[in-house]
Symmetry: C2
Subunit: 330 residues, 2 copies
């Protein structure tokens, strides 16, 4: 382990696991001999099916942990709010509903009806805003102040990071021989939690971040500097869960220190190929952000970076995709 | 247990499980709180995900058991053959390939290219025939005789029945509280194996057969007579895995004695609704035959038949569906 002490450690993640485990699924780890034959080049791949998690993505873990921690530290919670057009909004609504808390999710105007329905399905209110990162932040702040709600960000929050890190606890318990994990990153809540847990349990394991083309994390990691444009912008990708071009302020130092400098990227065609493989051969529906991780597993770059990796884990982070508009039909 | 002794018993099924378990997946059991809320009426449903089995369906279990038993009882096996347009052909090709045996699958001329590819993918030969049950039987017999191959039928065969019965062993081990299982039937290999195992382990459990509309198994069960037209015909359904309108000669007495007289049926719209629910909410791809079982679980008829059932198992038998032509896109 590096000498640096992170503000979230393996004990926080183990505590989070004890806190949430009876409410979330222990998702299965899938393998595919066809995948290994076609893309393995001698390696074996293991897919952690967080698409089959409650609410259809890993976000249920972090959102629930954050709410349970809030209950521990605060006497009266009036409600919770967040901004999200997708998985985190749904996860927070689900977790709040389970604990009998009010919830208001700030959502961009252009969010598809189907995503709004999956938030309101859990009894949460939805407040529409302009489709920009700035408007989302500001509207969320306003809703929190007006209602005296606690704001629960999607990624850049210690309890969220600890919750998402539980993925790696289960993954390494089920597949202790893993020597690398491929994990998609947007603001990096999942990637940083997974990195902390995995590196604590197995210091030699390598964590490779996956992102869509154009996001330039590799450049930042190599320079050890946040080189992204400000305010953060959305890149153009079908992997809508990972389109924001900036890690969070809390997640950045964790990923800078624990992840490999080589970042695996995928374009839309590669992402669709990953999604199709999962659907056709593994019989699971995954969203673009997970398709990007499958694409990274298929890529020759991974092999070029390190051909000694024999057991590679891939996080299938979510499965929330509109089944009436699957991207290969377009 | 009824006094009648079946030619396949629980010990055969346990032996089959020991024989095949290291080569097939122990498929996960899925639950959905949304399903239970919307359709449960106080019951909990458990879905055994055989769509995620090797080769994409439960057929891998029976085909492998049949080949392993053949190896035990016969000194020189030249190869194996069967007629199948789908899952059994693929499963036999896979099992033969694993054991280094030649395999020839008889397939109707009108079989989609994608299904033929999944058979040849495992190195098997394909022989085309007319798209009628009679031509399939005759061509298969001819290929077996000419090549001195052993014929391995898809369903009506004791080793196949024993192999498929292993589904119920795992299901009841994982969910011992089950008090009913819904299982689709075509010729009844899976349904009879599941019924024998489940009833042996838990005599009070109820086995409900699921089939497409028009197949009239319920009429036959109530009359205790094979009332189907001869030769067997294919009914018009999108559940192509269960479209043949006749149980086998070996499976019929088993199902007649062990299954409930009430047969649950589903039409195409209901089957599609079941498939869409599985895809959208549970994130798994299932084929029509499995969609029919989900539709049966959704049906009000099940509740009307017996409102005391609290824990109901549903076998998601397969996931081999053309993802470029999902039925809800038509």
């Amino acid at each position: 382990m590096p000498a640096y002490t992170f503000p979230v450690n393996i004990d926080d993640i183990k505590d989070a696991h004890n806190r949430i485990r009876s409410h979330v699924y222990r998702t299965p780890v899938l393998t595919s001999s066809t995948f290994d034959q076609e893309y393995g080049a001698g390696r074996k791949f293991y897919f952690k099916a967080e698409n089959m998690q409650k609410t259809g993505s890993f976000k249920a873990r972090g959102a629930l942990n954050a709410i349970l921690m809030l209950e521990r530290t605060k006497e009266h919670i009036k409600g919770v709010t967040t901004h999200s057009s997708g998985n985190h909004g749904q996860a927070l609504a689900w977790a709040a509903n389970m604990k009998g808390l009010k919830c208001n999710v700030i959502t961009p105007k252009d969010t598809p009806e189907v995503k709004i329905r999956s938030i309101t399905h859990y009894g949460a209110d939805v407040t529409l805003c302009e489709p920009t990162p700035t408007s989302r932040e500001e509207t969320c702040k306003k809703v929190a102040e007006e209602n005296n709600y606690d704001s629960v960000p999607s990624s850049d929050h210690y309890h969220i990071i600890a919750g998402q890190g539980t993925i790696a606890l289960e993954f390494l318990e089920d597949v202790p021989q893993l020597n690398a994990i491929l994990v998609s990153a947007s603001k990096g809540g999942m990637a940083s939690g997974v990195a902390i847990a995995a590196k604590a349990l197995k210091p030699d394991i390598k964590i490779f971040i996956v992102e869509p083309d154009e996001k330039e994390l590799e450049k930042c990691l190599r320079a050890a500097m946040r080189l992204w444009p400000d305010p953060p912008r959305f890149v153009d990708t079908i992997a809508d869960g990972i389109r924001i071009q900036q890690l969070g302020n809390l997640t950045w130092p964790i990923i800078l220190n624990l992840a490999e400098k080589e970042v695996l990227t995928a374009n839309n065609d590669e992402i669709i190929k990953g999604m199709k493989f999962a659907c056709e051969r593994m019989k699971v529906l995954i969203e673009g952000a997970a398709g990007a991780a499958v694409a990274a597993a298929m890529s020759s770059r991974l092999q070029q970076i390190d051909d000694s990796l024999k057991h590679v884990g891939v996080v299938l982070c979510g499965g929330n995709v509109d089944i009436d508009n699957l991207p290969w039909y377009k």
